[in-house]
C-alpha cells in the first residue's frame, strides 16, 4: 500500500518526523519549517543529456533470461555493438535488492560510474519522468489521467523536465530552489546562485535567479580593456558596464540589462578566481569533462564568492540516437561516466564530496523497439545521482522489464514513469535545505504524488 503524500505529511506532522516509514522516505525531515537551511555549503550539479538517453541501453538487464529477452528484441543493434554489449562484458551492479531474481548491469563504457556505484558514491533512480498525476497503462490508454502536454517532443519534454511545462516555461525547479536559498540569505547576491557551463539554463532560472554562464577558461572579458588606462579606459569600462541605460524600447532595455549584468558578474568572478585554488584532479579532455572541470573550479572559489548554496548545470548532446546508436551511444556513455567520476574525485580532493550532489537528466528515455539501427523518443528514463551524501549502491524506484505490453509500457517499450520528476527533485531540494513549504511551491504538482525516495543518507 502506498501512502498518499497528503496523508504522509499529516502523519509526519503529528508524530513521525524523523522516523522512517516502511521504507518510505522522510525526505523532508529535519528541515526547518519556515525558511531554507543555508548553513555550511551545498551544491547541486545537473548534467543534462540532450536528445534523450536510451534507458534500455544504459541500465541493461543482466540475469540470463532478462538479458536474452532484451538482446533478442534488440538483436540487430546488440549484434552491431559486438563485444560492448556481450553479457560477459557488461559491468554487473551488485544486487541492489528489491528486484527478486532480476539483475542489472552497466555497459562496459560506463566503468567510471560503475566504480562510483559499487563504492557507494552513486545510485540509480529508475523509471522517472514527467507526470501530472500517477499514471499507468490502463489510465493512459483510457485517457482517464491528465498527462504532460507534448510527450515525446524534444524541446517540450526538456522544458517539462526542467520547469514542469512545455516550451515557453519561465522558471525551472532548481532555479526556484536557488530562489528559496537566496531568500534565506544563502548568498550575498543572486549573481552566482546558479551557474551554467552551457545549456539547460531553464532548469536553474528562478524568479530572482538568472544563470551565470562561465566559460571553460573562467569568466570571459573584453580583451580591449586589458591595456586601456586613463580617460579612454574609464570611458570604455563605463560603456561596457552599460550602467544607467534606460532606453524606452523594451528590447533595448533588456539588452542593456544583460550587458550590465554580464559585465558585473564577469568582473566579480574574475576577482574571486584571481586568488586561485582549484582542484588538481585531471579531467578528461572531453566537452563534458571540461565543463565539469569549470564547475569544480567555480566550487573551489565558493568562499571568495561568499556563497553557501549553488546549483550548476552542464550539458552534453548527441543522445538522440534515431540512427547509428551502436556507434554513437557507447562513446557518449564513456564521456559521461569518465567526466562524472573525475568530478567526484575533484570534490573528494576539495573535501566537499558530502556537500555536492550531481544528478543526470534528459529529454526522455527511448523506445525498447528499434527502428533498424536506432531508437525513437520515449518517456520515462533511468538516471544517476552521485555524491557522498547519496545513499549509494541503490536502485531507487522501478526498472520495468525489457519487454512489451507490461503495465508501464506506453507502446513500443516507451516507459510510463512510476516516479515523477517532482518526486526525483524533492529529496534533492530537501537536502539542499528547502523547507516543506518551499518545496511545495517550487514543485506544485508534488502534492499529487507520494513522497519521493530517500536518496540521501
Amino acid at each position: 500500500m502506498t501512502i498518499s503524500r497528503r496523508h504522509f505529511l499529516k502523519l509526519s506532522a503529528n508524530s513521525l518526523a524523523g522516523a522512517s516509514l516502511g521504507g518510505m522516505s522522510l525526505a523532508l525531515s529535519g528541515i526547518r519549517a519556515q525558511a531554507a537551511d543555508t548553513s555550511g555549503y551545498k551544491a547541486l550539479v545537473g548534467v543534462f543529456l540532450f536528445g534523450g538517453m536510451d534507458n534500455h541501453d544504459t541500465i541493461i538487464p543482466h540475469d540470463s533470461s532478462s538479458y536474452q529477452r532484451w538482446a533478442s528484441i534488440r538483436q540487430s543493434m546488440v549484434n552491431s555493438m559486438g563485444a560492448s554489449r556481450a553479457r560477459d562484458n557488461l559491468l554487473p551492479l551488485t544486487n541492489p535488492g528489491g528486484f527478486g531474481s532480476r539483475r542489472f548491469a552497466l555497459p562496459s563504457e560506463m566503468a567510471g560510474l560503475h566504480r562510483l556505484f559499487e563504492s557507494g558514491a552513486a545510485s540509480i533512480v529508475g523509471n522517472v519522468g514527467p507526470l501530472i498525476e500517477p499514471t499507468d497503462r490502463s489510465s493512459f490508454d483510457a485517457e482517464s489521467v491528465r498527462l504532460p502536454p507534448r510527450l515525446f517532443s524534444h524541446n517540450d519534454q526538456q522544458a517539462t523536465w526542467m520547469a514542469g511545462a512545455p516550451e515557453g516555461a519561465s522558471f525551472g525547479w532548481a532555479g526556484l530552489f536557488a530562489d528559496a536559498a537566496q531568500q534565506a540569505g544563502a548568498n550575498p547576491g543572486a549573481a552566482f546562485s546558479t551557474i551554467t557551463t552551457g545549456g539547460a539554463d531553464l532548469l536553474i532560472t528562478g524568479r530572482d535567479t538568472a544563470p551565470y554562464q562561465v566559460g571553460e577558461e573562467g569568466a570571459a572579458q573584453a580583451y580591449i580593456l586589458e591595456d586601456l588606462e586613463g580617460d579612454l579606459g574609464e570611458a570604455m569600462r563605463r560603456h561596457f558596464a552599460a550602467t544607467g541605460f534606460r532606453p524606452g524600447n523594451l528590447l533595448r532595455r533588456d539588452i542593456a540589462d544583460k550587458l550590465h549584468a554580464s559585465y558585473d558578474a564577469n568582473e566579480q568572478y574574475n576577482l574571486a578566481t584571481q586568488s586561485g585554488g582549484g582542484a588538481s584532479t585531471a579531467f578528461p579532455p572531453t566537452p563534458l569533462g571540461q565543463q565539469l572541470a569549470a564547475v569544480a573550479n567555480a566550487i573551489a572559489v565558493r568562499e571568495q564568492l561568499g556563497v553557501s548554496r549553488q546549483i550548476f548545470t552542464a550539458a552534453m548532446g548527441g543522445f538522440d540516437t534515431h540512427s547509428a546508436q551502436a556507434r554513437d551511444l557507447p562513446m557518449l556513455q564513456q564521456e559521461l561516466a569518465d567526466a562524472v567520476e573525475a568530478f567526484y574525485q575533484a570534490m573528494t580532493e576539495l573535501g566537499l564530496e558530502q556537500d555536492v550532489t550531481l544528478f543526470t537528466t534528459s529529454d526522455f528515455g527511448r523506445t525498447l523497439a528499434i527502428n533498424g539501427d536506432g531508437t525513437d523518443h520515449g518517456w520515462a528514463a533511468h538516471h544517476f545521482i552521485v555524491g557522498g551524501a547519496v545513499q549509494g549502491g541503490q536502485i531507487f524506484g522501478d526498472i520495468p522489464e525489457a519487454d512489451f505490453d507490461h503495465p508501464q509500457d506506453a507502446g513500443g517499450g516507451r516507459l510510463i514513469p512510476t516516479m515523477s520528476v517532482e518526486q526525483f527533485a524533492a529529496p534533492m531540494g530537501a537536502w539542499f535545505g528547502l523547507s516543506e513549504g518551499e518545496l511545495a511551491s517550487a514543485l506544485p504538482n508534488l502534492r499529487n504524488f507520494d513522497a519521493g525516495p530517500n536518496l540521501f543518507t
Binding site: D201, A222, D254, I255, A256, S262, D320, G412
Partner: protein
C-alpha cells in the same frame, strides 16, 4: 454614398483594364505616402539593414530617393548566386595543393566560406537573406562531426536548394527538402525501413515529428494572427498526437542515397549527397498511413505517399501564420504583434502582395515566399513600427556582415581569417551559418527570456537565448579583432608554416588584407567627433543613436588626442566598436 446594388452593377461591368487602371491610380495615390522606404539616407539604411546583410555606403547613396518597390522587384529578378561553384573552387584549390590528406580542411569549409562571400558581396542580397532565414527554419547542421561535416557537398547542395527556392513556393521547397540527402541524414530517415511486425521494428519517427512540429504546422492550432486557438474550456488545442507521428512516419520510409553513383564513381558520396534521394520501393511501408485526419491507402507507392502527405500538411491553415511569423522574426521583429502576423499570413495564403508602387509580387498560389517576404518588409509595422517592443535583436552573424559591408571590405577571402572558420563558440559569435546545435536552431521562435522586461510581458525574443555572460564579451572580442584589423599584425612566416603543415594551399601574405576594412570616409571626419558620429550613426544605426551612447563615444574618443594618422585611426575604431556594442545598435528598430 454608393449603394450596394450600384456597386455590384459597377463591379460586374468593370473590365480588366479598368481594374488595372484603378489599381495603378490608387497605387499612385498611395505611392508618395507608402513607398517611403528609400525617402532619405536614414530610411534607406534602415530598410537595407532589415532586408540585406547590411547597407553599403554606395547603396545608401544610390538608392536614396528611389523606389523600394522597384528595388524589391529588381532583387527578385537577379540570378541566384549559388554556393556549389564556390565550394568547387575551394575543392579545386585543395586538390592543387600538395596535401595528400583526404580530409581537406579548405574544401570542408566550402559552405562556410561561400556563405561569408555571398553575404558580404553577392548582388542578390534579398535572396541570400531569405535563404539564410530559411536555413534557420528548415535546419540542417554541419556541426555534428559526422557525414554532414565529412561530405561538405551535402550541406552545400542543401543550402543551394534554399537559395533556389527562396522566392518560390513553400510546398515545393518542402518537397525538395524532404528528398534532400542532408535532411534525410540529419533527421535520420535516410534508409528508413518499413516496419516489421515479426521483429517489432517500426519506422523511424524523427522526420514525421519534426516536419509537423518545426517545418509546417507547429504544436498548437493557430488563428490567422498566430495566436493559439482555444477550445470551449479555454485550453489551447494540440495539432497532432503521437498516433499521427506514427502514421506519418510510414510515409518517410524507402528513401536513401541514389545507388547509381556507387558502382561507377570514385567520389560517390559527393555525388549522391548532391542529388535527391532515390526511392527504394521494397523499403517503403505498404500499410495505410493515417495522420491528421487523412488516410493514405495501403500499398500507395512512396512518391505518391510523400506527395499526398506534403499536400495534406501544407493544406493545414496553420502553415501561413506558423511560417509567416518566423520569417518576420528573422527580418524585422523579434516579437511581432498579431496584426502583423495576420497580414503576412494573408499574403502567404493569397500568394500575392501588392507593393507600395502598385506592382504585384507572387504567383497567386498559396505559399508564395516572395509575396510573404514582401508582406514582411513592406508592412506598416516594419516601416513605421509602433509599440515599446518593436524591433529585432540583431543576430550576431548579421552584425558581422553589416560591419563588413558598411566598411567596404574589399578582399572577401574568409579562408584567410581563422575566426570565420567556426564562429559557433560563445567566445566568438555564438552562431555559425548552417551550424546550429540541433534542428531547433540557435534559438527558438517561442523563446521568452526570463527576468526581462519583455519576459514579464510574455513577449518572445529568440535572439536573447544566446545572450549571456560568455557571449557578450565573446562578441565584443570577435568584433574587436575585425574592427581594429588585427590581421595586420599576424606573423606571416609562422602562419605559412602552419598552413604548410596542415597541407592547406594558402598564401599567408594575403592574410593581412583579408576582410580589411576601408575607413577612409570615416578617417576624414575623425577630427570632429560629431561629424564622425553622424557618419557612423547613418551606417550602423540609421539615425537612432541615443544621446547616451553618443555622449559615451564622444567622451572616449575625445580622450584620444589627435596628433597623427594613427590617433585618428584609433578614434574611428573605438567609435565603431562602441556603437556596435551599444543597445542602440544591438536592437534593429
Amino acid at each position: 454614398m454608393i449603394t450596394t446594388s450600384i456597386m455590384n452593377r459597377f463591379a460586374a461591368t468593370l473590365t480588366l483594364s479598368a481594374l488595372l487602371y484603378a489599381a495603378t491610380a490608387s497605387a499612385a495615390a498611395g505611392d508618395a505616402a507608402r513607398d517611403q522606404a528609400f525617402k532619405d539616407q536614414r530610411s534607406t539604411a534602415r530598410f537595407l539593414s532589415q532586408a540585406t546583410f547590411g547597407p553599403t555606403p554606395g547603396d545608401i547613396n544610390q538608392l536614396r530617393g528611389s523606389s523600394a518597390s522597384e528595388w524589391f522587384q529588381a532583387q527578385l529578378a537577379l540570378p541566384p548566386t549559388y554556393l556549389m561553384p564556390i565550394f568547387e573552387e575551394y575543392a579545386e584549390r585543395a586538390e592543387e595543393s600538395e596535401s595528400d590528406d583526404e580530409f581537406d580542411l579548405l574544401a570542408n569549409e566550402g559552405a562556410t566560406f561561400g556563405f561569408w562571400r555571398n553575404a558580404v558581396s553577392a548582388p542578390d542580397q534579398l535572396r541570400q537573406r531569405m535563404a539564410f532565414a530559411l536555413s534557420e527554419l528548415l535546419v540542417v547542421s554541419n556541426g555534428g562531426g559526422e557525414v554532414l561535416t565529412d561530405v561538405p557537398q551535402a550541406v552545400t547542395w542543401y543550402q543551394d536548394l534554399l537559395i533556389e527556392h527562396a522566392f518560390g513556393n513553400y510546398r515545393e521547397l518542402l518537397e525538395a527538402v524532404t528528398y534532400s540527402p542532408a535532411m534525410g541524414y540529419y533527421l535520420t530517415y535516410m534508409g528508413n525501413e518499413r516496419g516489421d511486425p515479426a521483429t517489432g521494428r517500426v519506422p523511424d519517427e524523427n522526420y514525421a515529428r519534426e516536419i509537423m512540429q518545426l517545418f509546417t504546422i507547429g504544436v498548437l492550432e493557430l488563428n490567422l494572427n498566430g495566436t493559439p486557438k482555444r477550445d470551449s474550456d479555454g485550453q489551447p488545442i494540440e495539432t497532432y498526437s503521437n498516433a499521427d507521428v506514427t502514421g506519418l512516419a510510414r510515409v518517410f520510409t524507402g528513401l536513401n542515397l541514389d545507388e547509381r553513383f556507387y558502382d561507377v564513381e570514385e567520389d560517390a558520396d559527393a555525388l549522391a549527397y548532391s542529388t535527391p534521394m532515390a526511392i527504394f520501393p521494397e523499403s517503403h511501408s505498404e500499410r495505410p498511413k493515417q495522420f491528421l485526419g487523412t488516410t493514405i491507402p495501403a500499398n500507395t507507392p512512396a512518391a505518391e505517399s510523400i506527395d499526398a502527405a506534403l499536400d495534406h500538411l501544407f493544406a493545414h491553415p496553420n502553415v501561413g501564420p506558423f511560417v509567416g511569423r518566423q520569417i518576420i522574426q528573422r527580418f524585422t521583429s523579434s516579437s511581432p504583434n498579431k496584426g502583423y502576423v495576420k497580414r503576412v499570413a494573408q499574403a502567404f495564403n493569397r500568394g500575392s502582395y501588392r507593393l507600395p508602387d502598385g506592382s504585384q509580387v507572387g504567383t497567386g498560389q498559396r505559399g508564395d515566399l516572395a509575396a510573404t517576404l514582401a508582406a514582411v518588409l513592406f508592412d506598416p509595422q516594419a516601416r513605421k513600427p509602433k509599440g515599446k517592443a518593436a524591433g529585432k535583436v540583431r543576430e550576431p552573424i548579421l552584425r558581422f556582415t553589416h560591419w563588413a559591408r558598411a566598411f567596404r571590405v574589399q578582399q572577401v577571402t574568409p579562408e584567410y581569417n581563422w575566426q570565420l572558420w567556426d564562429t559557433s563558440g560563445p567566445g566568438m559569435l555564438g552562431q555559425h551559418p548552417y551550424r546550429a546545435q540541433s534542428v531547433f536552431n540557435f534559438f527558438r521562435p517561442g523563446y521568452v527570456a526570463p527576468g526581462t522586461e519583455t519576459g514579464k510581458r510574455g513577449l518572445t525574443v529568440p535572439e536573447l537565448q544566446i545572450v549571456n555572460a560568455s557571449s557578450v564579451p565573446g562578441y565584443t572580442n570577435f568584433m574587436t579583432g575585425f574592427v581594429f584589423a588585427w590581421q595586420q599584425y599576424e606573423d606571416i612566416e609562422e602562419l605559412q608554416e602552419e598552413y604548410d603543415e596542415e597541407g592547406i594551399g594558402l598564401d599567408a601574405s594575403r592574410v593581412v588584407t583579408s576582410f580589411l576594412p576601408n575607413y577612409r570616409s570615416e578617417l576624414s571626419r575623425a577630427e570632429d567627433a560629431d561629424a564622425l558620429l553622424r557618419r557612423l550613426d547613418l551606417l550602423l544605426t540609421h539615425g537612432q543613436l541615443s544621446s547616451a551612447t553618443r555622449n559615451a563615444v564622444k567622451e572616449a574618443i575625445n580622450a584620444i588626442p589627435v596628433y597623427d594618422e594613427e590617433s585618428l585611426d584609433y578614434r574611428v575604431k573605438f567609435a565603431i566598436l562602441m556603437i556596435m556594442t551599444s543597445p542602440d545598435y544591438l536592437v534593429l528598430r
